[in-house]
């Protein structure tokens, strides 16, 4: 292994002496790149947003915005980062910077470098294309979240600004043109990103290891029970920063090719555990409407660019958003260890609050979802804020309705028990019943009593229960006569 270094704004900077738990944010700031700011240290504000060269779908490299506060810098060894300083200078502003500056997109300026990076990622998105204009929308795009230049405001959903009220930032984003022919970062997209090399960073008795392949990773897991897996670090990074968690050994699995597969057959979709949610969204391309409804409601684009599906199950959180959907889709989890693989139905995977059947020497290699999926699918997430909030409750529906009768019902719930659960009583109340107001009234009453919701700062228990019942009412109101698919 060569001694690790990270390329930042075109310069290779060594990682010598860096502690394995040092975040990319702290490291960049220590390098003098203080445009990278800390607003929360938990992935919520985007002040730390930076651009990372990552594999793209339409171009070999895609400039991907990530939260530098969550990821240890060691995880970027061998990779290429760009910060606001690297995009432009006061005398030679980048187009994104110019629009932001001239349109009043900064007031106190603290959130601004992060916004600039998130905006630049969308600016460089290769398939961003001017949209057919429509009237009525102030930005001139097809809806109020898309600009006439194809800019998708969801790209900025993980960036908070306390000063501007966002309107000038939106206008800056919607005013952007296409990159010039001689734009370095645009040109960079046509070459693949550097492969993530095997890495070891160690200091003060702690280690960060990126194994060369799955076999190495599994051996390490078998030998070192104290090892902690890290994928996108969007969950682990919060533990490190806010709760002072430190692991003696962190094993990075986000780039393992064996965990980044994506396979569709007639009977199943297999999704590699280390694919990010953004990547999965792109690859599924609408194949699973239920998951399509999950993605935009899952955190922010910044987080989805890092967060993996394996990590979402790995946290075992009762309020994880993919789990209720995967439960409704009857997914299975593929666990791998040095002894081989086993496949466990997700419904049997969780055994208690943040506990599962996974052994310490196992990792989740993939998630399998059987096909064809149910015809009537919906994901209802109830939270305080519409963008980027954690669920108070989440309800995933997958129903087959034929000849006006519910033939099969699968409902996954988040936020109502120590683990995500299936709403089995409600499923029974629906199955073989007519899909009509009476059935829905009866079943909604059952659904409202599923689980044992908590009273906490997100919601009262009463509201959570009410939301369960309302979810079914809403499903019916929106789909009184669902399209009938299935065999």
């Amino acid at each position: 292994m060569q001694s690790p270094a990270v390329t930042v704004n075109g310069r290779s900077l060594p990682l010598d002496g860096t502690a394995p738990s040092t975040t990319a944010l702290d490291w960049l700031r220590a390098q003098g790149l203080v445009g990278c700011k800390e607003g929360c240290a938990e992935g919520e504000c985007g002040a730390c947003s930076v651009l990372v060269a990552r594999p793209g779908r339409t171009t070999p490299t895609q400039w991907t915005a990530l939260n530098a506060c969550l990821v240890p810098i060691a995880a970027f060894a061998g990779q290429e980062l760009v910060t606001a300083e690297g995009l432009g200078t006061p005398d030679a502003l980048h187009p994104v910077q110019r629009e932001m500056a001239e349109r009043g997109g900064s007031q106190c300026g603290y959130c601004t470098p992060g916004f600039v990076c998130s905006m630049a990622a969308e600016y460089y998105r290769a398939d961003r294309a001017p949209a057919a204009a429509s009237d009525g929308h102030p930005g001139g795009g097809p809806d109020h979240l898309h600009g006439p230049n194809g800019f998708d405001l969801h790209a900025l959903s993980g960036n908070l600004c306390r000063c501007t009220g966002y309107r000038p930032i939106r206008d800056a984003a919607f005013a952007l043109g296409a990159p010039d022919d001689d734009d370095r970062l645009a040109a960079r997209r046509s070459q693949p990103p550097p492969p993530a090399p095997a890495t070891r960073v160690a200091a003060d008795g702690a280690e960060f290891v990126r194994p060369a392949g799955l076999a190495d990773a599994l051996t390490l897991l078998a030998d070192r029970p104290e090892a902690l897996l890290a994928a996108g670090c969007t969950d682990w990074g919060v533990e490190v920063n806010l709760r002072g968690q430190r692991a003696p050994l962190v094993v990075a699995i986000d780039q393992l090719p064996e965990l980044r597969g994506f396979d569709v057959t007639a009977s199943a979709v297999e999704i590699g555990a280390s694919l990010s949610l953004s990547e999965i969204e792109e690859r599924l391309a609408g194949r699973l409407p239920l998951l399509d409804q999950v993605f935009p409601q899952f955190a922010s684009r910044l987080i989805r660019n890092g967060a993996t599906i394996g990590g979402n199950l790995g946290t075992g959180s009762p309020i994880g958003d993919t789990t209720p959907a995967l439960l409704a889709l009857e997914a299975t989890v593929v666990l791998a260890s040095v002894d081989g693989e086993r496949e466990v139905p997700l419904a049997d995977y969780f055994t208690g609050y943040r506990r599962s059947v996974r052994r310490a020497d196992e990792l989740i290699r993939a998630v399998r979802i059987p096909l064809p999926a149910a015809g009537l699918a919906a994901f209802h997430k109830v939270a305080k804020r519409r963008f980027d909030d954690i669920s108070s409750v989440a309800v995933a529906f997958a129903l087959d309705v034929r000849d006006g009768v519910v033939r099969r019902a699968r409902i996954g719930l988040g936020g109502v028990a120590a683990t995500p659960v299936r709403a089995r009583a409600t499923e029974d109340a629906l199955t073989d019943q007519r899909w009509d107001a009476d059935t829905v009234d009866r079943a909604a009453a059952v659904l409202a009593t599923e689980g044992t919701p908590l009273d906490d700062h997100r919601s009262s228990a009463a509201y959570r229960s009410a939301m369960l019942g309302q979810a079914l009412h809403r499903l019916f109101a929106e789909n009184p006569t669902p399209q009938e698919v299935g065999a």
């Binding site: 502690a19 910077q97 300026g109 000038p168 919601s459």
Partner: protein, 815 residues
């Protein structure tokens, strides 16, 4: 027109220029206090030892275990304080307390070679405590009679007679939450000791002079031995008016004890659990209307939740009382105020400074009573506006009430209010599961510090031999664009292009004894002072130029870098030429500027006087759509017309209006401060202490259509270049969103229903409001007729309101 408000031809003020630091912001090159750490050698990092009890006595504090942690250099405790162990000006905020007053109160601080070392050191410290009973909610404090500070009483006319003669009497209660500032940059200070023991503190502070004073009194130094500098802040919003002092003092104390620079930067959870917030309030009220819905009397008691110490609670409460009328003429008024003492962070200034809280009470009353009166809410508001000759309950004439009427009409026109109201009715009739609401609300907000003495500003302007200009002034930059405006003022007064003027960071050794950059007064006070300094210099230069041009100094004009006579065909001199000539004639090319706002007086024990220079007006019409299944809502469209006088800097002012509005909407509809109210180990803990649980407005809360217009032809006599303050007033335009939500929720029920809405109106709160409307034909919790809910009247021995600074003044005049 007054000399202060008059603009020359082609002024630089009034141009829409970007923020002076915009290019630095977008490239990541603008420096904030913590960005200096990497440029400073041998920095030590500070970490607090917070104690997780709502209320407890510290019985033992063992710091030795911290020293066993590698990298720990020093633990700071009360014993180290050479001066006064207090972080405030009222001596009720011990810097190192022996009684824990709120969950997360820091009892000592650890300095380490690294932040990690300091953190582990703080964890290692052993603290023993004896838990004490705690009061967490304002209701608990009211029940226990736990109050602090003065209890202001504002009265005009005869409330009892007003109520007795009213055609309709209603009464009710309202409790509403405070707000976390959530400036993106948390509190930060970096201190070091210069040669000669001079202490230099860089601090993210809105009030460098007071930070300086507190640092000096903690260290036992004179003010002249301490210098405070604020480069810029990543947001302040009032949260850095009083709160930075203690943190700066800790850093300075650490620096004097170790001889090394000390950095103290709070992380987000420390900032949220340790620093003060907007006050939540509780209100009980009785109100009388005549047959036509005109207000006859208001009797109310407002209790603010002050937290554990006074901080700015008294002036905040005074301003709340002074804004309970908002834009409405109420002939008979009695409003009592008191400050609950609770075991929470010490609540403080926040954009609006009590004004929003006072106004929320009356807007809530009107929103709830309109259906009971059978009057449309917009019409009810308009009917009660101040008109010519009206005076506020505290006796200040309301100047320019016609602006309110003009603005109102403009907003109704711009928003197409009547047509959209009918469209919404039609929409609501055909959509059982979603309803829309459109509401319009006014703002009248008094500008100036209530306390007269604070209404002064200072500046120091240098013109160098090459003609370049450097300005210093007493105000701080937190994103509000003050520095941009000051550059424009200086360029206008000196008649030079904007790029000839530079601005230096705010420092107490440049301009002393400054007031906080607060109360929206930054541009008024400092702008007038900058103008004053520039005028002195310009006057001297006019003499020099007059000689050269062979004209009278009174006829010399300065514009766009040239100096010429008033006559059309006059010769022109370059600015640089005149400056150089002046230097060789030994003319002083720098000046100190000063300004004091004239005509203000205020007696806070009687709550009477004319505390405000003028009122800022505005109105907003907001349309929301509410989802009946969940209570979630979105803001479809907002139209605002706002009075900023003649704008000094339209892009900046627009930003203040939009940003203030969204922040106000956040306070009223989303941001949810939840303290653990249940007894137990976490009693008093702030449950929403992180960005993941305390949700700020994000892009999803931006109004989908957002139209803002500045009121044209709005010159404000007697203010710098005819402008008006803009920092705070727009926040209160957001009442329109809350009222629109109330109307949309009501639309789920039968027509004419009065609906209660909690504040913040989170989706859950809106859902319960919808349920009230859907399930019942009964109105919300408004009592009709006498006696109804009776506001508490103050006890006979209630202390009058005599803010500390007035007490000091009196003490000084007595001696």
């Amino acid at each position: 027109m007054s000399a202060l408000s008059e603009r020359p031809a082609e002024p630089v003020v009034g141009r829409a220029v970007p923020h002076e630091s915009a290019a630095l912001h977008v490239t990541g090159q603008a420096l904030y206090t913590d960005d200096l750490v990497g440029r400073t050698k041998d920095v030590l990092h500070a970490w607090p030892r917070q104690v997780m009890h709502a209320h407890a006595r510290v019985t033992a504090l063992r710091t030795e275990p911290a020293y066993a942690v590698p990298g720990v250099v020093r633990v700071l405790t009360a014993a180290d304080v050479p001066g006064v162990n207090d972080a405030g000006v009222k001596h009720d905020e011990p810097l190192f307390p022996d009684e824990v007053m709120f969950y997360g109160h820091a009892v000592c601080w650890v300095l380490g070679e690294t932040l990690e070392a300091a953190r582990l050191g703080a964890e290692a410290i052993e603290v023993e405590v004896e838990p004490l009973p705690a009061l967490v909610t304002v209701r608990e404090a009211i029940a226990a009679g736990s109050f602090q500070g003065g209890q202001p009483h504002l009265e005009r006319g005869d409330v009892e007679a007003g109520l007795a003669g009213a055609a309709h009497v209603f009464s009710g209660e309202l409790e509403f939450a405070g707000q976390e500032h959530f400036y993106l940059e948390t509190h930060c200070s970096l201190a070091h000791v210069d040669e000669n023991g001079q202490v230099f503190v860089q601090s993210s502070t809105q009030h460098p002079s007071e930070t300086q004073e507190i640092v000096a009194h903690v260290l036992g130094l004179t003010n002249s031995e301490v210098t405070v500098q604020c480069l810029r802040m990543g947001g302040g919003f009032g949260g850095k008016e009083m709160q930075p002092h203690g943190f700066a003092a800790i850093a300075a104390l650490g620096a004097t004890l170790t001889g090394r620079p000390v950095r103290l930067r709070l992380n987000r959870s420390q900032d949220m659990t340790m620093s003060g917030k907007r006050h939540g309030f509780h209100a009980r009220w009785r109100v009388g209307f005549d047959e036509s819905g005109c207000l006859q009397a208001l009797d109310a008691t407002l209790t603010s939740d002050g937290g554990w110490s006074l901080d700015l609670s008294e002036p905040v409460l005074a301003r709340a009382l002074c804004h309970v009328d908002n834009a409405y003429w109420i002939p008979n008024v009695r409003v009592n105020g008191r400050i609950a003492k609770t075991n929470k962070t010490s609540q403080t200034a926040f954009r609006g400074f009590g004004g929003p809280q006072g106004m929320l009470v009356i807007e809530d009353i009107l929103g709830r009573c309109a259906p009971l009166l059978g009057v449309d809410a917009a019409e009810l508001r308009r009917r009660n506006f101040y008109t010519a000759g009206g005076t506020t309950p505290y006796g200040q004439p309301v100047r320019h009430p016609e602006r309110l009427a003009t603005i109102w009409q403009k907003v109704l026109d711009a928003s197409d209010f009547a047509a959209r109201t009918s469209e919404i009715e039609a929409y609501n009739a055909t959509h059982p599961h979603t309803k829309r609401g459109l509401a319009v609300t006014p703002v009248k907000f008094g500008i100036s510090f209530n306390l007269t003495a604070f209404n002064q500003g200072g500046a120091l302007v240098h013109v160098y031999k090459d003609g370049s200009v450097l300005i210093n002034h007493g105000g701080t930059e937190m994103g509000q664009g003050l520095h941009t405006k000051m550059l424009q003022v200086a360029a206008t007064t000196l008649g030079v292009p904007l790029h000839r003027v530079r601005l230096a960071p705010t420092r107490t050794d440049k301009v002393p004894n400054t007031s906080a950059t607060a109360a929206s007064s930054g541009a008024d006070l400092n702008g007038a002072a900058v103008k004053n300094a520039c005028e002195q210099i310009r006057g001297r230069l006019a003499q020099v130029a007059a000689e050269r041009l062979g004209i009278s100094p009174a006829d010399v004009r300065f514009a766009d870098g040239a100096v010429h006579g008033i006559a059309f065909a006059s010769d022109r001199l370059a600015w640089e030429e005149v400056v150089k000539a002046a230097y060789f004639q030994r003319v002083q090319l720098w000046a100190a500027g000063f300004y004091r706002t004239e005509g203000l007086h205020w007696d806070s024990s009687r709550m009477r006087g004319e505390p405000f220079k003028y009122f800022a007006y505005g109105a907003a019409a907001a349309e929301v759509e509410v989802d009946g299944f969940t209570g979630a809502y979105r803001t479809r469209r907002v139209d605002i017309v706002h009075d900023v006088g003649d704008s000094l800097s339209p892009l900046v002012d627009l930003g203040q209006i939009e940003g203030g509005f969204v922040q106000g909407a956040g306070w009223l509809t989303l941001e949810d401060l939840r303290w653990e109210e249940r007894e137990g180990p976490h009693h008093g803990r702030l449950a929403t202490q992180a960005a993941s649980t305390y949700k700020l407005p994000s892009f999803s809360e931006m109004p989908e259509v957002f139209n803002v217009t500045l009121l044209p032809n709005a010159t404000e006599e007697g203010a710098v270049y005819g402008s008006k303050a803009v920092g705070e007033p727009p926040l209160m335009l957001a009442f329109s969103v809350r009222e629109a939500i109330r109307q949309a929720a009501a639309a789920f029920g039968p027509p004419g229903l009065s609906v209660d809405l909690a504040s913040p109106a989170t989706p859950e709160a809106v859902y319960w409001a919808i349920e009230q409307a859907r399930r019942s034909t009964e109105h919300g919790h408004v009592d009709e007729g006498a006696p109804g809910v009776l506001p508490d009247q103050p006890a006979a021995d209630a202390p009058p309101m005599v803010p500390f600074s007035e007490r000091v003044q009196r003490m000084m005049t007595r001696t």
